[in-house]
Amino acid sequence: MRIAVLARLPMDLTNLQERSIAKPDTTNTPSVVIMHLNGRKHILKYFAGETLLETARRGQLPLGSGCERGDCGACMVSIIAGCVRMRANTVLSDEDVRSGITLACQSIPTSSELEIDLS
Protein backbone atom coordinates (compact mmCIF):
# COMPACT_ATOMS: atom_id res chain seq x y z
CA MET A 1 0.00 0.00 0.00
CA ARG A 2 2.81 2.38 0.91
CA ILE A 3 4.58 1.74 -2.42
CA ALA A 4 1.44 2.64 -4.31
CA VAL A 5 1.16 5.92 -2.43
CA LEU A 6 4.80 6.75 -3.09
CA ALA A 7 4.37 6.09 -6.78
CA ARG A 8 1.67 8.75 -6.98
CA LEU A 9 3.88 11.41 -5.43
CA PRO A 10 5.02 14.13 -7.90
CA MET A 11 8.70 13.61 -8.45
CA ASP A 12 9.74 16.86 -10.09
CA LEU A 13 13.46 16.98 -9.43
CA THR A 14 14.08 20.08 -11.55
CA ASN A 15 12.50 22.21 -8.88
CA LEU A 16 14.77 20.67 -6.24
CA GLN A 17 17.88 21.36 -8.29
CA GLU A 18 16.86 24.99 -8.79
CA ARG A 19 16.68 25.45 -5.01
CA SER A 20 20.20 24.14 -4.39
CA ILE A 21 21.57 25.52 -1.14
CA ALA A 22 24.60 27.79 -1.25
CA LYS A 23 27.68 26.20 0.27
CA PRO A 24 28.35 27.61 3.76
CA ASP A 25 31.49 29.62 4.34
CA THR A 26 33.77 27.35 6.36
CA THR A 27 36.68 29.74 6.84
CA ASN A 28 36.11 30.11 10.57
CA THR A 29 34.19 26.94 11.30
CA PRO A 30 35.15 24.68 14.20
CA SER A 31 35.38 20.95 13.58
CA VAL A 32 33.90 20.29 17.02
CA VAL A 33 31.91 22.29 19.58
CA ILE A 34 32.51 21.65 23.26
CA MET A 35 29.33 21.81 25.33
CA HIS A 36 29.30 21.71 29.14
CA LEU A 37 26.18 20.40 30.84
CA ASN A 38 25.72 19.56 34.54
CA GLY A 39 29.45 19.28 35.09
CA ARG A 40 30.05 17.06 32.09
CA LYS A 41 31.95 18.00 28.96
CA HIS A 42 30.48 16.89 25.62
CA ILE A 43 32.58 17.15 22.46
CA LEU A 44 30.27 17.22 19.46
CA LYS A 45 31.23 17.15 15.80
CA TYR A 46 30.16 20.39 14.15
CA PHE A 47 28.78 20.56 10.61
CA ALA A 48 29.11 23.92 8.85
CA GLY A 49 25.90 25.93 8.80
CA GLU A 50 24.35 24.29 11.86
CA THR A 51 23.06 26.39 14.71
CA LEU A 52 24.24 25.47 18.20
CA LEU A 53 20.72 24.24 18.98
CA GLU A 54 20.89 21.85 16.04
CA THR A 55 24.32 20.62 17.14
CA ALA A 56 23.07 20.04 20.70
CA ARG A 57 20.03 18.19 19.44
CA ARG A 58 22.14 15.99 17.20
CA GLY A 59 24.23 15.19 20.26
CA GLN A 60 20.99 14.42 22.15
CA LEU A 61 21.76 17.06 24.76
CA PRO A 62 18.61 18.37 26.49
CA LEU A 63 18.81 22.04 25.55
CA GLY A 64 15.52 23.91 25.97
CA SER A 65 14.07 25.90 23.11
CA GLY A 66 11.02 28.00 22.44
CA CYS A 67 10.17 30.16 19.44
CA GLU A 68 13.40 29.31 17.55
CA ARG A 69 13.33 32.75 15.95
CA GLY A 70 15.40 34.66 18.49
CA ASP A 71 12.41 36.22 20.25
CA CYS A 72 12.11 34.40 23.60
CA GLY A 73 15.48 33.42 25.04
CA ALA A 74 14.47 29.86 26.02
CA CYS A 75 17.68 28.53 24.42
CA MET A 76 20.10 30.93 26.11
CA VAL A 77 23.59 29.51 26.57
CA SER A 78 26.88 31.03 27.76
CA ILE A 79 29.99 31.24 25.64
CA ILE A 80 33.09 30.11 27.50
CA ALA A 81 35.51 30.49 24.60
CA GLY A 82 35.13 31.46 20.95
CA CYS A 83 32.74 33.58 18.90
CA VAL A 84 29.34 33.18 17.27
CA ARG A 85 27.11 35.17 14.97
CA MET A 86 23.40 35.41 15.80
CA ARG A 87 21.13 35.39 12.76
CA ALA A 88 18.39 37.19 14.70
CA ASN A 89 17.91 38.50 18.21
CA THR A 90 15.10 40.63 19.57
CA VAL A 91 15.35 39.53 23.19
CA LEU A 92 18.93 39.70 24.48
CA SER A 93 20.23 43.11 25.54
CA ASP A 94 23.64 44.41 24.48
CA GLU A 95 24.75 43.80 28.05
CA ASP A 96 23.60 40.15 27.84
CA VAL A 97 25.55 39.68 24.63
CA ARG A 98 28.64 41.39 26.05
CA SER A 99 28.50 39.05 29.06
CA GLY A 100 28.71 36.05 26.71
CA ILE A 101 25.05 34.99 26.57
CA THR A 102 23.82 33.90 23.17
CA LEU A 103 20.75 32.26 21.64
CA ALA A 104 21.58 28.70 20.61
CA CYS A 105 18.80 28.61 18.02
CA GLN A 106 20.31 31.57 16.17
CA SER A 107 24.04 31.11 16.78
CA ILE A 108 26.50 30.08 14.08
CA PRO A 109 30.10 29.62 15.21
CA THR A 110 32.55 32.12 13.71
CA SER A 111 35.73 30.95 15.39
CA SER A 112 37.77 27.83 14.81
CA GLU A 113 37.22 26.80 18.45
CA LEU A 114 34.03 27.12 20.44
CA GLU A 115 33.14 26.10 23.99
CA ILE A 116 29.76 26.83 25.57
CA ASP A 117 27.90 26.15 28.79
CA LEU A 118 24.33 24.87 28.48
CA SER A 119 23.39 24.82 32.16
Binding site: G64, G66, C67, R69, C72, A74, M76, T90, L92
Partner: protein, 424 residues
Amino acid sequence: MNEVIRRAPNLKWTDEFHLSHDRVSLEDTISPSFFARETEAIFQRSWLYIGRVERVASPGAYFTKELESLKTSLLVTRDKENNLRVFHNVCPHRGNKLVWDTYADRETAGRCKRFACKFHGIGFGLDGDVERLPDAIAWLDDQARDLHLAEVPFGVWYGFIFVNLTPGGPKQSLREFIGDEYWTGFDNFDFSARSENYSFQANADANWKALMDGFSEVYHGATTHKLPFAIPPIEEMAPGATHLVDIAIRDHHRYYLAARHPRFNFDYERETNALATGPRYEFPEGFDVLPRAANPVGFPNWGTSSHMFWPNLYIQFYYPGWYVTYVMQPLAYNKMRFELNIYMPKPRKFSEMLAQKSCALQFVEAGLQDFSLLEAQQLGLEARAFENYPFTDQEVCLRDFHEKIQAAVTAHERERREAEHSRA
Protein backbone atom coordinates in the same frame (compact mmCIF):
# COMPACT_ATOMS: atom_id res chain seq x y z
CA MET B 1 -13.99 22.37 60.17
CA ASN B 2 -14.15 18.99 61.90
CA GLU B 3 -12.15 18.33 65.00
CA VAL B 4 -9.58 15.59 64.67
CA ILE B 5 -11.40 12.53 65.94
CA ARG B 6 -9.57 9.75 67.76
CA ARG B 7 -11.05 6.33 67.93
CA ALA B 8 -12.46 5.12 71.23
CA PRO B 9 -11.36 1.61 72.22
CA ASN B 10 -13.32 -1.21 70.57
CA LEU B 11 -15.05 1.15 68.18
CA LYS B 12 -14.77 0.99 64.43
CA TRP B 13 -13.30 3.97 62.57
CA THR B 14 -16.40 3.94 60.41
CA ASP B 15 -18.53 4.53 63.50
CA GLU B 16 -16.19 7.18 64.87
CA PHE B 17 -16.75 9.20 61.71
CA HIS B 18 -20.51 8.49 61.79
CA LEU B 19 -20.39 6.83 58.39
CA SER B 20 -22.79 4.10 57.36
CA HIS B 21 -21.85 0.43 57.03
CA ASP B 22 -23.70 0.19 53.70
CA ARG B 23 -22.07 -1.22 50.64
CA VAL B 24 -20.66 1.51 48.37
CA SER B 25 -21.57 2.10 44.74
CA LEU B 26 -18.56 2.72 42.50
CA GLU B 27 -20.67 3.93 39.61
CA ASP B 28 -18.82 7.26 40.02
CA THR B 29 -15.69 5.45 38.80
CA ILE B 30 -17.14 3.90 35.64
CA SER B 31 -19.75 6.36 34.41
CA PRO B 32 -18.85 8.74 31.55
CA SER B 33 -21.74 11.04 32.47
CA PHE B 34 -20.62 11.21 36.11
CA PHE B 35 -17.13 12.12 34.94
CA ALA B 36 -18.54 15.17 33.14
CA ARG B 37 -20.55 16.11 36.23
CA GLU B 38 -17.62 15.81 38.66
CA THR B 39 -15.36 17.72 36.27
CA GLU B 40 -17.77 20.66 36.39
CA ALA B 41 -18.69 20.39 40.06
CA ILE B 42 -15.30 19.52 41.57
CA PHE B 43 -12.32 20.15 39.30
CA GLN B 44 -13.72 23.34 37.81
CA ARG B 45 -14.43 24.66 41.31
CA SER B 46 -11.66 23.45 43.62
CA TRP B 47 -8.16 24.58 44.41
CA LEU B 48 -5.94 22.27 42.36
CA TYR B 49 -2.27 21.55 43.04
CA ILE B 50 -0.08 22.17 39.99
CA GLY B 51 3.54 22.04 41.18
CA ARG B 52 6.24 23.16 43.57
CA VAL B 53 7.75 26.66 43.70
CA GLU B 54 11.26 25.22 43.32
CA ARG B 55 10.41 24.62 39.65
CA VAL B 56 10.30 28.40 39.19
CA ALA B 57 13.04 29.37 41.59
CA SER B 58 14.35 32.46 39.79
CA PRO B 59 13.10 35.06 37.27
CA GLY B 60 12.52 33.60 33.81
CA ALA B 61 12.10 30.00 34.98
CA TYR B 62 8.82 28.56 33.78
CA PHE B 63 6.81 25.35 33.44
CA THR B 64 3.52 24.50 31.78
CA LYS B 65 0.82 22.38 33.37
CA GLU B 66 -1.83 20.52 31.42
CA LEU B 67 -5.24 20.02 33.03
CA GLU B 68 -6.77 17.96 30.25
CA SER B 69 -10.18 17.36 31.80
CA LEU B 70 -10.65 21.13 32.10
CA LYS B 71 -9.20 21.71 28.62
CA THR B 72 -6.77 24.08 30.27
CA SER B 73 -3.06 24.66 29.88
CA LEU B 74 -1.31 26.83 32.47
CA LEU B 75 1.96 28.74 32.27
CA VAL B 76 3.72 29.20 35.61
CA THR B 77 6.66 31.57 35.81
CA ARG B 78 8.53 34.07 37.96
CA ASP B 79 8.72 37.66 36.71
CA LYS B 80 11.66 40.08 36.86
CA GLU B 81 10.45 41.36 40.26
CA ASN B 82 10.60 37.76 41.54
CA ASN B 83 6.79 37.46 41.74
CA LEU B 84 5.22 34.12 40.96
CA ARG B 85 2.81 34.35 38.02
CA VAL B 86 0.25 31.88 36.67
CA PHE B 87 -1.31 32.52 33.27
CA HIS B 88 -3.49 30.66 30.86
CA ASN B 89 -0.99 29.32 28.33
CA VAL B 90 -2.80 30.98 25.44
CA CYS B 91 -1.90 33.91 23.18
CA PRO B 92 -4.61 36.60 23.48
CA HIS B 93 -4.29 37.50 19.80
CA ARG B 94 -5.62 34.41 18.00
CA GLY B 95 -5.88 31.87 20.82
CA ASN B 96 -2.82 29.87 19.86
CA LYS B 97 -1.26 27.81 22.62
CA LEU B 98 1.69 29.93 23.69
CA VAL B 99 4.46 27.76 25.19
CA TRP B 100 5.10 24.21 24.05
CA ASP B 101 7.89 22.11 22.58
CA THR B 102 7.49 19.82 19.59
CA TYR B 103 4.17 18.36 20.83
CA ALA B 104 1.47 20.90 21.62
CA ASP B 105 -0.28 18.65 24.13
CA ARG B 106 2.75 17.94 26.30
CA GLU B 107 4.11 19.82 29.26
CA THR B 108 7.42 21.64 29.07
CA ALA B 109 9.72 23.65 31.31
CA GLY B 110 12.72 25.92 30.95
CA ARG B 111 14.02 29.40 31.37
CA CYS B 112 13.51 32.38 29.08
CA LYS B 113 13.29 36.15 28.93
CA ARG B 114 10.01 36.39 27.12
CA PHE B 115 7.20 34.15 25.82
CA ALA B 116 6.96 34.39 22.02
CA CYS B 117 3.91 33.10 20.18
CA LYS B 118 4.83 30.68 17.42
CA PHE B 119 2.00 32.03 15.22
CA HIS B 120 2.63 35.78 14.63
CA GLY B 121 5.64 36.28 16.88
CA ILE B 122 4.01 38.48 19.53
CA GLY B 123 6.29 38.50 22.56
CA PHE B 124 4.96 38.65 26.14
CA GLY B 125 7.09 39.65 29.09
CA LEU B 126 7.33 37.51 32.20
CA ASP B 127 4.63 39.75 33.73
CA GLY B 128 2.23 38.93 30.86
CA ASP B 129 2.47 42.36 29.15
CA VAL B 130 3.19 42.66 25.44
CA GLU B 131 6.88 43.34 24.88
CA ARG B 132 7.18 42.76 21.18
CA LEU B 133 4.50 43.48 18.63
CA PRO B 134 5.40 42.68 15.03
CA ASP B 135 3.47 44.68 12.42
CA ALA B 136 2.28 47.17 15.02
CA ILE B 137 0.80 49.51 12.42
CA ALA B 138 -1.83 46.96 11.39
CA TRP B 139 -3.53 46.80 14.80
CA LEU B 140 -6.91 48.49 15.19
CA ASP B 141 -7.63 51.16 17.76
CA ASP B 142 -6.03 50.41 21.15
CA GLN B 143 -6.45 46.68 20.92
CA ALA B 144 -2.74 45.92 20.94
CA ARG B 145 -2.31 47.93 24.13
CA ASP B 146 -4.95 45.80 25.84
CA LEU B 147 -3.20 42.54 25.04
CA HIS B 148 -2.18 40.72 28.22
CA LEU B 149 -1.87 37.08 29.15
CA ALA B 150 -4.90 35.92 31.16
CA GLU B 151 -4.01 35.60 34.85
CA VAL B 152 -5.23 32.61 36.82
CA PRO B 153 -6.05 32.89 40.55
CA PHE B 154 -3.42 31.00 42.49
CA GLY B 155 -2.13 30.57 46.02
CA VAL B 156 0.95 29.06 47.63
CA TRP B 157 1.05 26.95 50.78
CA TYR B 158 4.43 25.65 51.99
CA GLY B 159 5.66 26.04 48.40
CA PHE B 160 2.79 24.01 46.89
CA ILE B 161 1.18 26.06 44.11
CA PHE B 162 -2.60 25.76 43.78
CA VAL B 163 -4.86 27.30 41.14
CA ASN B 164 -8.58 27.84 41.14
CA LEU B 165 -10.50 27.97 37.87
CA THR B 166 -13.97 28.58 39.31
CA PRO B 167 -15.98 30.65 36.79
CA GLY B 168 -16.26 34.16 38.27
CA GLY B 169 -13.40 33.56 40.70
CA PRO B 170 -12.73 31.36 43.74
CA LYS B 171 -15.58 31.04 46.25
CA GLN B 172 -13.16 30.39 49.12
CA SER B 173 -9.56 31.39 49.78
CA LEU B 174 -6.76 28.83 49.63
CA ARG B 175 -6.40 29.17 53.40
CA GLU B 176 -10.08 28.36 53.92
CA PHE B 177 -9.73 25.43 51.55
CA ILE B 178 -6.62 24.02 53.27
CA GLY B 179 -8.15 24.55 56.71
CA ASP B 180 -6.64 25.72 60.00
CA GLU B 181 -5.33 22.30 60.98
CA TYR B 182 -3.13 22.01 57.90
CA TRP B 183 -2.40 25.68 57.22
CA THR B 184 0.29 25.66 59.92
CA GLY B 185 0.43 21.88 60.44
CA PHE B 186 3.64 21.38 58.49
CA ASP B 187 5.62 24.11 60.24
CA ASN B 188 9.19 23.08 61.09
CA PHE B 189 9.41 21.00 57.93
CA ASP B 190 11.49 22.72 55.26
CA PHE B 191 9.93 21.40 52.05
CA SER B 192 12.28 23.48 49.88
CA ALA B 193 15.30 21.85 51.51
CA ARG B 194 14.10 18.50 50.10
CA SER B 195 15.22 19.67 46.69
CA GLU B 196 16.45 16.40 45.21
CA ASN B 197 13.48 15.55 43.01
CA TYR B 198 12.76 12.22 41.32
CA SER B 199 9.80 12.60 38.99
CA PHE B 200 7.75 9.85 37.38
CA GLN B 201 4.59 9.85 35.26
CA ALA B 202 2.44 7.11 33.78
CA ASN B 203 -0.94 6.93 32.10
CA ALA B 204 -3.52 4.23 32.75
CA ASP B 205 -6.88 3.25 31.32
CA ALA B 206 -8.58 3.79 34.65
CA ASN B 207 -10.55 6.41 36.51
CA TRP B 208 -8.48 8.79 38.65
CA LYS B 209 -10.42 7.84 41.78
CA ALA B 210 -9.34 4.21 41.47
CA LEU B 211 -5.77 5.19 42.36
CA MET B 212 -6.95 7.66 45.01
CA ASP B 213 -8.70 4.65 46.54
CA GLY B 214 -5.65 2.45 46.11
CA PHE B 215 -3.52 4.74 48.28
CA SER B 216 -6.28 5.34 50.85
CA GLU B 217 -5.46 2.24 52.85
CA VAL B 218 -2.29 0.26 53.48
CA TYR B 219 -3.33 -3.30 54.23
CA HIS B 220 -3.22 -4.17 50.52
CA GLY B 221 0.57 -4.02 50.99
CA ALA B 222 0.63 -7.54 52.39
CA THR B 223 -0.75 -8.82 49.07
CA THR B 224 0.14 -6.31 46.34
CA HIS B 225 3.64 -5.61 47.63
CA LYS B 226 4.42 -9.05 49.03
CA LEU B 227 7.31 -9.16 46.60
CA PRO B 228 10.00 -7.89 46.51
CA PHE B 229 9.64 -6.82 50.15
CA ALA B 230 9.22 -10.37 51.52
CA ILE B 231 6.20 -9.40 53.58
CA PRO B 232 4.86 -12.41 55.45
CA PRO B 233 1.28 -13.58 54.83
CA ILE B 234 -1.22 -11.50 56.75
CA GLU B 235 -2.30 -14.63 58.69
CA GLU B 236 1.18 -14.88 60.19
CA MET B 237 1.10 -11.35 61.54
CA ALA B 238 -0.49 -10.18 64.78
CA PRO B 239 -4.17 -9.27 64.30
CA GLY B 240 -4.42 -5.76 62.91
CA ALA B 241 -0.68 -5.49 62.30
CA THR B 242 -1.28 -3.94 58.89
CA HIS B 243 -4.01 -1.60 60.10
CA LEU B 244 -3.82 2.16 60.15
CA VAL B 245 -2.81 3.57 63.50
CA ASP B 246 -4.60 6.88 63.24
CA ILE B 247 -7.07 8.43 60.85
CA ALA B 248 -8.57 11.90 60.72
CA ILE B 249 -11.11 13.47 58.41
CA ARG B 250 -10.56 17.20 58.13
CA ASP B 251 -13.35 18.76 56.13
CA HIS B 252 -12.68 17.48 52.58
CA HIS B 253 -9.16 16.29 53.38
CA ARG B 254 -8.14 13.05 55.02
CA TYR B 255 -5.07 11.71 56.78
CA TYR B 256 -3.79 8.41 58.04
CA LEU B 257 -0.76 7.23 59.94
CA ALA B 258 0.79 3.80 59.51
CA ALA B 259 3.30 2.11 61.76
CA ARG B 260 6.81 1.43 60.65
CA HIS B 261 7.09 -2.08 59.27
CA PRO B 262 10.50 -3.74 59.51
CA ARG B 263 10.25 -5.09 55.97
CA PHE B 264 8.15 -2.61 54.15
CA ASN B 265 9.66 0.79 54.38
CA PHE B 266 11.87 2.93 52.20
CA ASP B 267 14.81 3.80 54.37
CA TYR B 268 17.67 5.09 52.38
CA GLU B 269 19.53 4.83 55.64
CA ARG B 270 19.36 1.07 55.17
CA GLU B 271 20.47 1.42 51.55
CA THR B 272 23.48 3.47 52.59
CA ASN B 273 24.49 0.87 55.11
CA ALA B 274 24.22 -1.86 52.50
CA LEU B 275 26.68 -0.08 50.24
CA ALA B 276 30.30 -0.64 50.96
CA THR B 277 31.21 2.87 49.85
CA GLY B 278 29.94 4.89 52.74
CA PRO B 279 29.60 5.01 56.48
CA ARG B 280 26.30 4.78 58.33
CA TYR B 281 23.78 7.33 57.10
CA GLU B 282 23.38 10.27 59.38
CA PHE B 283 20.58 12.77 59.11
CA PRO B 284 21.56 16.21 57.93
CA GLU B 285 21.01 18.50 60.90
CA GLY B 286 17.33 19.15 61.52
CA PHE B 287 16.09 16.67 58.93
CA ASP B 288 14.88 14.10 61.45
CA VAL B 289 12.07 16.34 62.70
CA LEU B 290 8.56 15.51 61.60
CA PRO B 291 5.97 18.27 61.23
CA ARG B 292 3.16 18.21 63.78
CA ALA B 293 0.47 17.26 61.26
CA ALA B 294 2.53 14.27 60.07
CA ASN B 295 2.37 12.65 63.49
CA PRO B 296 -0.31 14.50 65.46
CA VAL B 297 -0.66 11.69 68.00
CA GLY B 298 3.08 11.41 68.65
CA PHE B 299 3.09 7.75 67.68
CA PRO B 300 6.55 6.39 68.54
CA ASN B 301 6.83 3.70 65.85
CA TRP B 302 5.88 6.17 63.12
CA GLY B 303 6.31 4.71 59.62
CA THR B 304 4.51 7.04 57.23
CA SER B 305 1.64 9.45 57.16
CA SER B 306 -0.43 10.21 54.11
CA HIS B 307 -2.40 13.40 53.61
CA MET B 308 -5.13 13.35 50.98
CA PHE B 309 -5.99 16.83 49.79
CA TRP B 310 -9.22 17.34 47.93
CA PRO B 311 -9.66 16.39 45.23
CA ASN B 312 -6.58 14.64 43.80
CA LEU B 313 -3.37 15.36 45.73
CA TYR B 314 -1.53 13.20 48.22
CA ILE B 315 1.36 14.45 50.33
CA GLN B 316 3.08 11.55 52.05
CA PHE B 317 5.93 11.72 54.55
CA TYR B 318 8.50 8.98 54.86
CA TYR B 319 11.29 8.11 57.21
CA PRO B 320 13.88 9.60 57.31
CA GLY B 321 12.71 13.10 56.53
CA TRP B 322 11.62 12.90 52.92
CA TYR B 323 8.27 13.29 51.24
CA VAL B 324 6.32 12.31 48.16
CA THR B 325 3.48 13.89 46.20
CA TYR B 326 0.99 12.01 44.07
CA VAL B 327 -1.42 13.70 41.71
CA MET B 328 -4.11 11.63 40.02
CA GLN B 329 -4.82 13.69 36.93
CA PRO B 330 -8.18 12.85 35.34
CA LEU B 331 -8.12 12.55 31.54
CA ALA B 332 -11.44 10.78 30.84
CA TYR B 333 -13.82 8.63 32.84
CA ASN B 334 -11.49 5.66 32.27
CA LYS B 335 -8.16 7.39 31.73
CA MET B 336 -5.78 9.06 34.13
CA ARG B 337 -2.21 10.25 34.51
CA PHE B 338 -0.29 9.33 37.65
CA GLU B 339 2.22 12.03 38.60
CA LEU B 340 4.65 10.84 41.27
CA ASN B 341 7.33 13.12 42.71
CA ILE B 342 9.83 12.12 45.36
CA TYR B 343 11.63 14.88 47.26
CA MET B 344 14.74 14.12 49.30
CA PRO B 345 17.48 16.20 50.90
CA LYS B 346 20.41 17.01 48.60
CA PRO B 347 22.85 14.11 48.92
CA ARG B 348 26.06 15.16 50.60
CA LYS B 349 28.21 12.44 49.14
CA PHE B 350 28.19 9.84 46.42
CA SER B 351 27.07 6.99 48.68
CA GLU B 352 24.03 9.03 49.75
CA MET B 353 23.16 9.74 46.15
CA LEU B 354 23.33 6.02 45.32
CA ALA B 355 21.21 5.20 48.38
CA GLN B 356 18.60 7.78 47.41
CA LYS B 357 18.43 6.57 43.83
CA SER B 358 18.06 2.97 44.97
CA CYS B 359 15.35 3.99 47.41
CA ALA B 360 13.54 6.09 44.78
CA LEU B 361 13.64 3.21 42.28
CA GLN B 362 12.17 0.81 44.85
CA PHE B 363 9.50 3.33 45.63
CA VAL B 364 8.56 3.80 41.98
CA GLU B 365 8.53 0.03 41.60
CA ALA B 366 6.06 -0.27 44.49
CA GLY B 367 3.99 2.54 42.94
CA LEU B 368 3.90 0.60 39.69
CA GLN B 369 2.66 -2.48 41.57
CA ASP B 370 -0.33 -0.42 42.70
CA PHE B 371 -0.63 1.16 39.30
CA SER B 372 -0.60 -2.16 37.43
CA LEU B 373 -3.81 -3.25 39.17
CA LEU B 374 -5.77 -0.22 38.05
CA GLU B 375 -6.73 -1.32 34.57
CA ALA B 376 -7.84 -4.72 35.88
CA GLN B 377 -9.96 -3.02 38.48
CA GLN B 378 -11.50 -0.65 35.93
CA LEU B 379 -12.36 -3.58 33.67
CA GLY B 380 -13.79 -5.49 36.62
CA LEU B 381 -15.91 -2.59 37.78
CA GLU B 382 -17.15 -1.87 34.26
CA ALA B 383 -18.41 -5.45 34.02
CA ARG B 384 -21.02 -4.26 36.56
CA ALA B 385 -21.23 -7.74 38.07
CA PHE B 386 -22.03 -6.08 41.40
CA GLU B 387 -23.98 -2.95 42.15
CA ASN B 388 -21.97 -2.02 45.20
CA TYR B 389 -19.03 -3.08 47.29
CA PRO B 390 -18.49 -3.89 50.99
CA PHE B 391 -15.73 -1.55 52.21
CA THR B 392 -14.04 -2.74 55.40
CA ASP B 393 -13.26 -0.53 58.37
CA GLN B 394 -9.74 -0.07 56.94
CA GLU B 395 -11.37 1.46 53.86
CA VAL B 396 -13.04 4.25 55.81
CA CYS B 397 -11.09 6.92 53.89
CA LEU B 398 -12.42 5.57 50.57
CA ARG B 399 -15.93 5.49 51.98
CA ASP B 400 -15.71 9.12 53.08
CA PHE B 401 -14.09 10.15 49.79
CA HIS B 402 -16.78 8.64 47.56
CA GLU B 403 -19.49 10.04 49.80
CA LYS B 404 -18.01 13.55 49.54
CA ILE B 405 -17.52 13.26 45.78
CA GLN B 406 -21.20 12.42 45.40
CA ALA B 407 -22.23 15.17 47.84
CA ALA B 408 -20.14 17.82 46.03
CA VAL B 409 -21.69 16.96 42.67
CA THR B 410 -25.21 16.94 44.10
CA ALA B 411 -24.66 20.25 45.93
CA HIS B 412 -23.28 21.97 42.84
CA GLU B 413 -26.14 20.78 40.67
CA ARG B 414 -28.67 21.92 43.25
CA GLU B 415 -27.04 25.37 43.40
CA ARG B 416 -27.04 25.59 39.63
CA ARG B 417 -30.73 24.65 39.43
CA GLU B 418 -31.58 27.22 42.09
CA ALA B 419 -29.60 29.90 40.28
CA GLU B 420 -31.35 29.07 37.00
CA HIS B 421 -34.71 29.07 38.78
CA SER B 422 -34.11 32.48 40.36
CA ARG B 423 -33.00 33.91 36.98
CA ALA B 424 -36.18 32.55 35.37
